[in-house]
Symmetry: C2
Protein backbone atom coordinates (compact mmCIF):
# COMPACT_ATOMS: atom_id res chain seq x y z
CA UNK A 1 0.00 0.00 0.00
CA UNK A 2 1.24 3.53 -0.77
CA UNK A 3 1.22 5.43 2.50
CA UNK A 4 1.73 9.14 3.16
CA UNK A 5 2.70 10.00 6.71
CA UNK A 6 2.08 13.59 7.77
CA UNK A 7 4.57 14.70 10.40
CA UNK A 8 8.31 14.36 10.89
CA UNK A 9 8.40 13.96 14.65
CA UNK A 10 9.19 10.78 16.52
CA UNK A 11 5.71 9.34 15.90
CA UNK A 12 5.81 9.89 12.14
CA UNK A 13 9.36 8.58 11.87
CA UNK A 14 8.68 5.51 13.96
CA UNK A 15 5.49 4.67 12.09
CA UNK A 16 7.44 5.15 8.87
CA UNK A 17 9.98 2.56 9.98
CA UNK A 18 7.24 0.17 11.06
CA UNK A 19 5.08 0.50 7.96
CA UNK A 20 8.03 0.36 5.58
CA UNK A 21 9.26 -2.70 7.46
CA UNK A 22 5.87 -4.26 6.77
CA UNK A 23 6.50 -3.78 3.05
CA UNK A 24 4.62 -0.57 2.35
CA UNK A 25 5.70 2.29 0.10
CA UNK A 26 6.03 5.19 2.54
CA UNK A 27 6.54 8.91 1.91
CA UNK A 28 6.85 11.34 4.79
CA UNK A 29 5.16 14.71 4.39
CA UNK A 30 6.01 18.03 5.97
CA UNK A 31 4.92 21.63 5.58
CA UNK A 32 8.22 22.91 4.22
CA UNK A 33 10.85 20.34 3.23
CA UNK A 34 13.77 22.76 3.26
CA UNK A 35 12.80 24.08 6.67
CA UNK A 36 12.46 20.60 8.15
CA UNK A 37 15.84 19.52 6.76
CA UNK A 38 17.49 22.69 8.04
CA UNK A 39 16.44 22.13 11.64
CA UNK A 40 19.27 21.22 13.97
CA UNK A 41 17.47 21.19 17.32
CA UNK A 42 16.52 18.12 19.28
CA UNK A 43 12.91 17.80 20.40
CA UNK A 44 11.77 18.04 24.04
CA UNK A 45 12.47 14.34 24.50
CA UNK A 46 15.98 14.57 23.08
CA UNK A 47 15.21 13.04 19.69
CA UNK A 48 17.57 14.19 16.93
CA UNK A 49 16.49 16.58 14.18
CA UNK A 50 14.94 15.00 11.10
CA UNK A 51 18.00 15.35 8.85
CA UNK A 52 20.16 13.52 11.37
CA UNK A 53 17.56 10.78 11.73
CA UNK A 54 17.32 10.41 7.95
CA UNK A 55 21.05 9.74 7.71
CA UNK A 56 20.65 6.66 9.87
CA UNK A 57 17.35 5.75 8.20
CA UNK A 58 18.12 6.14 4.49
CA UNK A 59 15.49 5.71 1.83
CA UNK A 60 12.74 7.79 3.36
CA UNK A 61 11.76 10.55 0.97
CA UNK A 62 10.58 13.78 2.57
CA UNK A 63 8.00 15.67 0.50
CA UNK A 64 5.46 18.47 0.94
CA UNK A 65 2.13 17.46 2.54
CA UNK A 66 0.27 17.63 -0.79
CA UNK A 67 2.76 15.35 -2.50
CA UNK A 68 2.57 12.82 0.32
CA UNK A 69 -1.21 12.91 -0.04
CA UNK A 70 -1.13 12.55 -3.82
CA UNK A 71 1.17 9.53 -3.48
CA UNK A 72 -0.91 7.89 -0.79
CA UNK A 73 -3.68 5.36 -0.91
CA UNK A 74 -3.75 5.74 2.88
CA UNK A 75 -2.79 8.86 4.85
CA UNK A 76 -1.48 8.87 8.44
CA UNK A 77 -1.82 12.04 10.53
CA UNK A 78 1.16 12.01 12.87
CA UNK A 79 1.45 15.77 13.22
CA UNK A 80 1.23 17.62 16.53
CA UNK A 81 -2.45 18.05 17.30
CA UNK A 82 -2.28 21.83 17.24
CA UNK A 83 -1.14 21.71 13.59
CA UNK A 84 -3.20 18.74 12.37
CA UNK A 85 -6.09 20.56 10.70
CA UNK A 86 -3.71 22.87 8.86
CA UNK A 87 -1.47 19.99 7.78
CA UNK A 88 -4.35 17.90 6.49
CA UNK A 89 -5.74 20.99 4.78
CA UNK A 90 -2.43 21.34 2.95
CA UNK A 91 -2.81 17.80 1.65
CA UNK A 92 -5.91 19.02 -0.16
CA UNK A 93 -9.41 17.62 -0.50
CA UNK A 94 -8.71 15.95 -3.84
CA UNK A 95 -5.86 13.99 -2.31
CA UNK A 96 -8.03 12.85 0.58
CA UNK A 97 -11.27 11.92 -1.18
CA UNK A 98 -12.28 8.38 -0.39
CA UNK A 99 -9.00 7.59 1.32
CA UNK A 100 -8.47 6.14 4.76
CA UNK A 101 -7.03 8.79 7.08
CA UNK A 102 -5.43 7.22 10.15
CA UNK A 103 -5.37 9.84 12.91
CA UNK A 104 -2.83 9.08 15.64
CA UNK A 105 -2.49 12.68 16.88
CA UNK A 106 -3.37 14.08 20.28
CA UNK A 107 -4.63 17.64 20.76
CA UNK A 108 -1.99 18.53 23.31
CA UNK A 109 -1.68 22.15 24.38
CA UNK A 110 1.70 22.96 25.92
CA UNK A 111 0.99 26.69 26.25
CA UNK A 112 0.18 26.36 29.95
CA UNK A 113 3.34 24.41 30.75
CA UNK A 114 3.78 20.78 31.69
CA UNK A 115 1.93 18.53 31.78
CA UNK A 116 0.01 19.66 28.69
CA UNK A 117 -3.74 20.26 28.65
CA UNK A 118 -5.96 19.18 25.78
CA UNK A 119 -6.96 21.92 23.34
CA UNK A 120 -10.26 20.12 22.74
CA UNK A 121 -11.98 17.69 25.09
CA UNK A 122 -15.24 16.44 26.54
CA UNK A 123 -17.68 17.93 24.01
CA UNK A 124 -15.55 17.37 20.92
CA UNK A 125 -12.29 15.76 19.83
CA UNK A 126 -9.57 16.27 17.26
CA UNK A 127 -10.67 13.09 15.51
CA UNK A 128 -14.19 14.45 15.11
CA UNK A 129 -12.87 17.85 14.01
CA UNK A 130 -10.81 16.16 11.31
CA UNK A 131 -13.75 14.05 10.11
CA UNK A 132 -16.04 17.11 10.04
CA UNK A 133 -13.49 19.31 8.27
CA UNK A 134 -12.58 16.65 5.69
CA UNK A 135 -15.86 14.76 5.17
CA UNK A 136 -14.59 12.86 2.13
CA UNK A 137 -11.76 11.28 4.12
CA UNK A 138 -12.51 8.08 6.02
CA UNK A 139 -11.04 8.93 9.43
CA UNK A 140 -9.97 6.21 11.86
CA UNK A 141 -8.59 7.24 15.24
CA UNK A 142 -6.12 4.74 16.61
CA UNK A 143 -2.71 4.27 18.29
CA UNK A 144 -2.84 7.67 20.03
CA UNK A 145 -2.99 5.97 23.43
CA UNK A 146 0.61 4.78 23.47
CA UNK A 147 4.28 5.53 22.85
CA UNK A 148 5.48 5.34 19.22
CA UNK A 149 7.75 2.37 19.88
CA UNK A 150 4.87 0.37 21.29
CA UNK A 151 2.76 1.24 18.23
CA UNK A 152 5.11 -0.59 15.87
CA UNK A 153 6.37 -3.28 18.24
CA UNK A 154 3.61 -4.48 20.56
CA UNK A 155 5.60 -7.62 21.35
CA UNK A 156 8.10 -5.37 23.15
CA UNK A 157 5.64 -5.52 26.07
CA UNK A 158 4.79 -8.84 27.70
CA UNK A 159 1.44 -10.51 27.31
CA UNK A 160 -1.76 -9.14 25.91
CA UNK A 161 -2.43 -5.41 25.69
CA UNK A 162 -4.73 -3.38 23.51
CA UNK A 163 -5.07 -0.90 20.69
CA UNK A 164 -8.36 0.86 19.97
CA UNK A 165 -10.24 2.01 16.88
CA UNK A 166 -12.83 4.75 16.48
CA UNK A 167 -14.35 5.70 13.15
CA UNK A 168 -17.58 5.95 11.24
CA UNK A 169 -16.49 3.81 8.27
CA UNK A 170 -16.44 0.08 9.03
CA UNK A 171 -14.43 -0.81 5.91
CA UNK A 172 -11.81 1.81 6.80
CA UNK A 173 -11.53 0.31 10.28
CA UNK A 174 -11.05 -3.08 8.65
CA UNK A 175 -8.20 -1.71 6.54
CA UNK A 176 -6.58 -0.15 9.60
CA UNK A 177 -7.02 -3.38 11.54
CA UNK A 178 -5.11 -5.20 8.79
CA UNK A 179 -2.31 -2.64 8.98
CA UNK A 180 -2.15 -3.05 12.76
CA UNK A 181 -1.93 -6.79 12.25
CA UNK A 182 1.11 -6.25 10.03
CA UNK A 183 2.70 -4.21 12.81
CA UNK A 184 2.29 -7.18 15.14
CA UNK A 185 -1.06 -6.52 16.79
CA UNK A 186 -3.05 -9.74 17.21
CA UNK A 187 -6.65 -9.43 16.02
CA UNK A 188 -7.93 -10.06 19.57
CA UNK A 189 -5.90 -7.07 20.84
CA UNK A 190 -7.74 -4.64 18.53
CA UNK A 191 -10.84 -3.16 20.18
CA UNK A 192 -13.39 -1.34 18.01
CA UNK A 193 -15.00 1.40 20.11
CA UNK A 194 -17.53 2.40 17.47
CA UNK A 195 -17.92 5.74 15.72
CA UNK A 196 -15.49 8.64 15.56
CA UNK A 197 -17.20 10.16 18.61
CA UNK A 198 -15.26 7.60 20.66
CA UNK A 199 -12.13 9.57 19.74
CA UNK A 200 -13.10 11.75 22.71
CA UNK A 201 -12.36 8.99 25.18
CA UNK A 202 -9.19 7.97 23.38
CA UNK A 203 -7.85 11.54 23.43
CA UNK A 204 -9.05 12.26 26.98
CA UNK A 205 -6.97 9.28 28.07
CA UNK A 206 -3.84 11.36 27.50
CA UNK A 207 -3.70 13.13 30.89
CA UNK A 208 -3.95 9.70 32.57
CA UNK A 209 -1.26 8.37 30.21
CA UNK A 210 0.97 11.32 31.09
CA UNK A 211 0.45 10.66 34.82
CA UNK A 212 1.46 7.04 34.27
CA UNK A 213 4.49 8.17 32.27
CA UNK A 214 5.57 10.48 35.07
CA UNK A 215 4.96 7.97 37.86
CA UNK A 216 6.76 5.12 36.08
CA UNK A 217 9.48 7.16 34.41
CA UNK A 218 9.07 5.35 31.11
CA UNK A 219 6.76 5.44 28.10
CA UNK A 220 7.35 1.75 27.44
CA UNK A 221 3.94 0.68 28.65
CA UNK A 222 0.43 0.18 27.43
CA UNK A 223 -2.91 -0.71 28.90
CA UNK A 224 -4.75 -4.00 28.68
CA UNK A 225 -8.47 -4.38 29.15
CA UNK A 226 -9.02 -7.24 31.56
CA UNK A 227 -12.44 -8.89 31.38
CA UNK A 228 -14.16 -11.42 33.52
CA UNK A 229 -13.63 -14.89 32.14
CA UNK A 230 -16.66 -16.10 30.18
CA UNK A 231 -17.95 -19.63 30.41
CA UNK B 1 -12.05 1.69 61.36
CA UNK B 2 -15.26 3.72 61.60
CA UNK B 3 -16.25 4.61 58.05
CA UNK B 4 -18.94 6.99 56.80
CA UNK B 5 -20.00 6.41 53.21
CA UNK B 6 -21.72 9.32 51.52
CA UNK B 7 -24.20 8.13 48.90
CA UNK B 8 -26.84 5.43 48.69
CA UNK B 9 -26.42 4.41 45.06
CA UNK B 10 -24.89 1.22 43.82
CA UNK B 11 -21.33 2.44 44.46
CA UNK B 12 -22.01 3.42 48.08
CA UNK B 13 -23.93 0.22 48.78
CA UNK B 14 -21.33 -2.02 47.20
CA UNK B 15 -18.45 -0.31 48.99
CA UNK B 16 -20.48 -0.64 52.19
CA UNK B 17 -20.73 -4.38 51.72
CA UNK B 18 -17.04 -4.64 50.89
CA UNK B 19 -15.78 -2.49 53.75
CA UNK B 20 -18.10 -4.07 56.29
CA UNK B 21 -17.00 -7.47 55.04
CA UNK B 22 -13.45 -6.38 55.80
CA UNK B 23 -14.48 -5.80 59.42
CA UNK B 24 -15.11 -2.05 59.45
CA UNK B 25 -17.88 -0.18 61.22
CA UNK B 26 -19.82 1.39 58.34
CA UNK B 27 -22.60 3.97 58.36
CA UNK B 28 -24.19 5.13 55.13
CA UNK B 29 -25.03 8.81 54.84
CA UNK B 30 -27.69 10.52 52.76
CA UNK B 31 -29.14 14.00 52.45
CA UNK B 32 -32.59 13.10 53.76
CA UNK B 33 -33.07 9.67 55.34
CA UNK B 34 -36.85 9.64 55.08
CA UNK B 35 -36.72 10.68 51.43
CA UNK B 36 -34.16 8.01 50.55
CA UNK B 37 -36.17 5.29 52.32
CA UNK B 38 -39.38 6.43 50.61
CA UNK B 39 -37.97 6.05 47.11
CA UNK B 40 -39.45 3.17 45.14
CA UNK B 41 -37.83 3.70 41.74
CA UNK B 42 -35.01 1.65 40.29
CA UNK B 43 -31.96 3.50 39.00
CA UNK B 44 -31.02 3.78 35.31
CA UNK B 45 -29.17 0.46 35.54
CA UNK B 46 -32.12 -1.35 37.12
CA UNK B 47 -30.77 -1.44 40.65
CA UNK B 48 -33.50 -1.59 43.33
CA UNK B 49 -34.35 1.38 45.56
CA UNK B 50 -32.34 1.70 48.78
CA UNK B 51 -35.09 0.42 51.10
CA UNK B 52 -35.43 -2.77 49.07
CA UNK B 53 -31.66 -3.25 49.03
CA UNK B 54 -31.49 -2.73 52.80
CA UNK B 55 -33.98 -5.54 53.37
CA UNK B 56 -31.60 -8.01 51.77
CA UNK B 57 -28.56 -6.31 53.36
CA UNK B 58 -29.65 -5.84 56.97
CA UNK B 59 -27.50 -4.11 59.50
CA UNK B 60 -26.59 -1.02 57.49
CA UNK B 61 -27.71 2.09 59.32
CA UNK B 62 -28.76 5.00 57.12
CA UNK B 63 -28.09 8.41 58.66
CA UNK B 64 -27.83 12.06 57.57
CA UNK B 65 -24.54 13.11 55.98
CA UNK B 66 -23.43 14.99 59.12
CA UNK B 67 -24.02 11.98 61.34
CA UNK B 68 -22.10 9.71 58.97
CA UNK B 69 -19.26 12.22 59.12
CA UNK B 70 -19.34 12.55 62.90
CA UNK B 71 -19.17 8.77 63.21
CA UNK B 72 -16.38 8.37 60.74
CA UNK B 73 -12.64 8.23 61.12
CA UNK B 74 -12.57 7.92 57.32
CA UNK B 75 -15.16 9.33 54.90
CA UNK B 76 -15.94 7.90 51.45
CA UNK B 77 -17.54 10.14 48.84
CA UNK B 78 -19.69 7.83 46.71
CA UNK B 79 -22.27 10.43 45.73
CA UNK B 80 -23.06 11.40 42.15
CA UNK B 81 -20.44 13.91 41.10
CA UNK B 82 -22.95 16.69 40.53
CA UNK B 83 -23.97 16.49 44.21
CA UNK B 84 -20.60 15.76 45.78
CA UNK B 85 -19.60 19.24 46.92
CA UNK B 86 -23.02 19.81 48.48
CA UNK B 87 -23.00 16.40 50.17
CA UNK B 88 -19.54 16.87 51.63
CA UNK B 89 -20.53 20.37 52.68
CA UNK B 90 -23.43 18.86 54.62
CA UNK B 91 -20.97 16.64 56.50
CA UNK B 92 -19.46 19.82 57.89
CA UNK B 93 -15.90 21.05 58.24
CA UNK B 94 -15.60 19.92 61.87
CA UNK B 95 -16.48 16.36 60.86
CA UNK B 96 -13.89 16.39 58.09
CA UNK B 97 -10.92 18.04 59.79
CA UNK B 98 -7.83 15.86 59.57
CA UNK B 99 -9.78 12.89 58.21
CA UNK B 100 -9.04 10.88 55.11
CA UNK B 101 -11.70 11.57 52.46
CA UNK B 102 -11.74 8.86 49.82
CA UNK B 103 -13.26 10.31 46.66
CA UNK B 104 -14.57 7.67 44.27
CA UNK B 105 -17.04 9.96 42.44
CA UNK B 106 -17.02 10.99 38.80
CA UNK B 107 -18.25 14.41 37.63
CA UNK B 108 -20.71 12.96 35.13
CA UNK B 109 -23.17 15.32 33.49
CA UNK B 110 -26.19 13.52 32.04
CA UNK B 111 -27.99 16.73 31.04
CA UNK B 112 -26.93 16.37 27.39
CA UNK B 113 -28.07 12.75 27.13
CA UNK B 114 -26.06 9.56 26.87
CA UNK B 115 -23.19 9.02 27.04
CA UNK B 116 -22.63 11.61 29.77
CA UNK B 117 -20.12 14.45 29.49
CA UNK B 118 -17.90 15.53 32.36
CA UNK B 119 -19.00 18.64 34.22
CA UNK B 120 -15.36 19.48 34.92
CA UNK B 121 -12.33 18.33 32.91
CA UNK B 122 -8.94 19.20 31.51
CA UNK B 123 -8.15 22.31 33.59
CA UNK B 124 -9.65 21.06 36.86
CA UNK B 125 -11.21 17.96 38.41
CA UNK B 126 -13.79 17.07 41.01
CA UNK B 127 -11.05 15.66 43.21
CA UNK B 128 -9.22 18.99 43.16
CA UNK B 129 -12.45 20.92 43.73
CA UNK B 130 -13.14 18.81 46.80
CA UNK B 131 -9.62 19.28 48.16
CA UNK B 132 -9.78 23.05 47.56
CA UNK B 133 -13.24 23.39 49.08
CA UNK B 134 -12.44 21.26 52.13
CA UNK B 135 -8.76 21.98 52.76
CA UNK B 136 -8.74 20.26 56.17
CA UNK B 137 -9.80 16.94 54.66
CA UNK B 138 -7.08 14.68 53.29
CA UNK B 139 -8.52 13.81 49.89
CA UNK B 140 -7.48 10.65 48.04
CA UNK B 141 -8.98 9.99 44.61
CA UNK B 142 -9.23 6.29 43.85
CA UNK B 143 -11.46 3.51 42.50
CA UNK B 144 -13.40 5.85 40.18
CA UNK B 145 -11.99 4.07 37.12
CA UNK B 146 -14.03 0.90 37.51
CA UNK B 147 -17.36 -0.75 38.20
CA UNK B 148 -18.40 -1.03 41.87
CA UNK B 149 -18.25 -4.82 41.89
CA UNK B 150 -14.66 -4.75 40.66
CA UNK B 151 -13.80 -2.24 43.40
CA UNK B 152 -14.60 -4.70 46.17
CA UNK B 153 -13.71 -7.94 44.40
CA UNK B 154 -10.69 -7.51 42.15
CA UNK B 155 -10.19 -11.27 42.05
CA UNK B 156 -13.41 -11.44 40.05
CA UNK B 157 -11.25 -10.53 37.05
CA UNK B 158 -8.37 -12.76 35.96
CA UNK B 159 -4.74 -11.85 36.43
CA UNK B 160 -3.24 -8.55 37.38
CA UNK B 161 -5.09 -5.27 36.90
CA UNK B 162 -4.73 -1.90 38.56
CA UNK B 163 -6.21 0.66 40.88
CA UNK B 164 -4.82 4.20 41.08
CA UNK B 165 -4.29 6.78 43.80
CA UNK B 166 -4.05 10.57 43.56
CA UNK B 167 -3.71 12.83 46.57
CA UNK B 168 -1.49 15.39 48.22
CA UNK B 169 -1.18 13.58 51.58
CA UNK B 170 1.19 10.60 51.47
CA UNK B 171 0.02 9.20 54.81
CA UNK B 172 -3.61 9.37 53.64
CA UNK B 173 -2.66 7.45 50.50
CA UNK B 174 -0.98 4.87 52.72
CA UNK B 175 -4.19 4.47 54.74
CA UNK B 176 -6.23 4.09 51.55
CA UNK B 177 -3.73 1.60 50.18
CA UNK B 178 -4.24 -0.50 53.32
CA UNK B 179 -8.01 -0.37 52.85
CA UNK B 180 -7.63 -1.43 49.21
CA UNK B 181 -5.48 -4.32 50.39
CA UNK B 182 -8.30 -5.44 52.66
CA UNK B 183 -10.64 -5.40 49.66
CA UNK B 184 -8.29 -7.78 47.88
CA UNK B 185 -6.02 -5.45 45.92
CA UNK B 186 -2.42 -6.70 45.94
CA UNK B 187 0.10 -3.99 46.84
CA UNK B 188 1.72 -4.26 43.40
CA UNK B 189 -1.65 -3.50 41.76
CA UNK B 190 -1.91 -0.11 43.48
CA UNK B 191 -0.35 2.70 41.42
CA UNK B 192 0.32 6.05 43.06
CA UNK B 193 -0.02 8.79 40.43
CA UNK B 194 1.11 11.60 42.72
CA UNK B 195 -0.79 14.66 43.84
CA UNK B 196 -4.51 15.35 43.64
CA UNK B 197 -3.95 17.05 40.27
CA UNK B 198 -3.71 13.55 38.81
CA UNK B 199 -7.42 13.21 39.56
CA UNK B 200 -7.87 14.96 36.20
CA UNK B 201 -6.55 11.98 34.31
CA UNK B 202 -8.46 9.51 36.45
CA UNK B 203 -11.74 11.36 35.85
CA UNK B 204 -11.05 12.04 32.17
CA UNK B 205 -10.70 8.29 31.73
CA UNK B 206 -14.47 7.99 32.12
CA UNK B 207 -15.49 8.65 28.49
CA UNK B 208 -13.02 5.93 27.43
CA UNK B 209 -14.41 3.64 30.13
CA UNK B 210 -17.95 4.30 28.90
CA UNK B 211 -16.90 3.48 25.31
CA UNK B 212 -15.42 0.21 26.55
CA UNK B 213 -18.60 -0.52 28.50
CA UNK B 214 -20.73 0.05 25.42
CA UNK B 215 -18.50 -1.93 23.07
CA UNK B 216 -18.21 -4.92 25.44
CA UNK B 217 -21.71 -4.80 26.90
CA UNK B 218 -20.44 -5.35 30.43
CA UNK B 219 -18.91 -3.30 33.22
CA UNK B 220 -17.07 -6.35 34.54
CA UNK B 221 -13.68 -5.21 33.33
CA UNK B 222 -10.73 -3.15 34.40
CA UNK B 223 -7.49 -1.97 32.90
CA UNK B 224 -4.01 -3.25 33.57
CA UNK B 225 -0.86 -1.27 32.95
CA UNK B 226 1.53 -3.50 31.04
CA UNK B 227 5.19 -2.56 31.28
CA UNK B 228 8.26 -3.74 29.49
CA UNK B 229 9.97 -6.46 31.49
CA UNK B 230 12.94 -5.12 33.39
CA UNK B 231 16.21 -6.99 33.66
Amino acid sequence: VRIGILGTGIVGRTLGVGLRGAGHDVLIGTRDVAHTLARTDRDAMGNPPYAEWQQSNPGFELVPFAEAGAHAELVVNATAGEHSLEAIGAVGDANLAGKVLVDVANPLDFSHGMPPMLSVANTDSLGEQIQRTFPDARVVKTLNTMNAYVMIDPSHLPGRHNVFLAGDDAAAKGTVGDLLGELGWPAEAIVDLGGIRSARGLEMFLPFWLSLLMSMGTGAFNIAVVRAATA
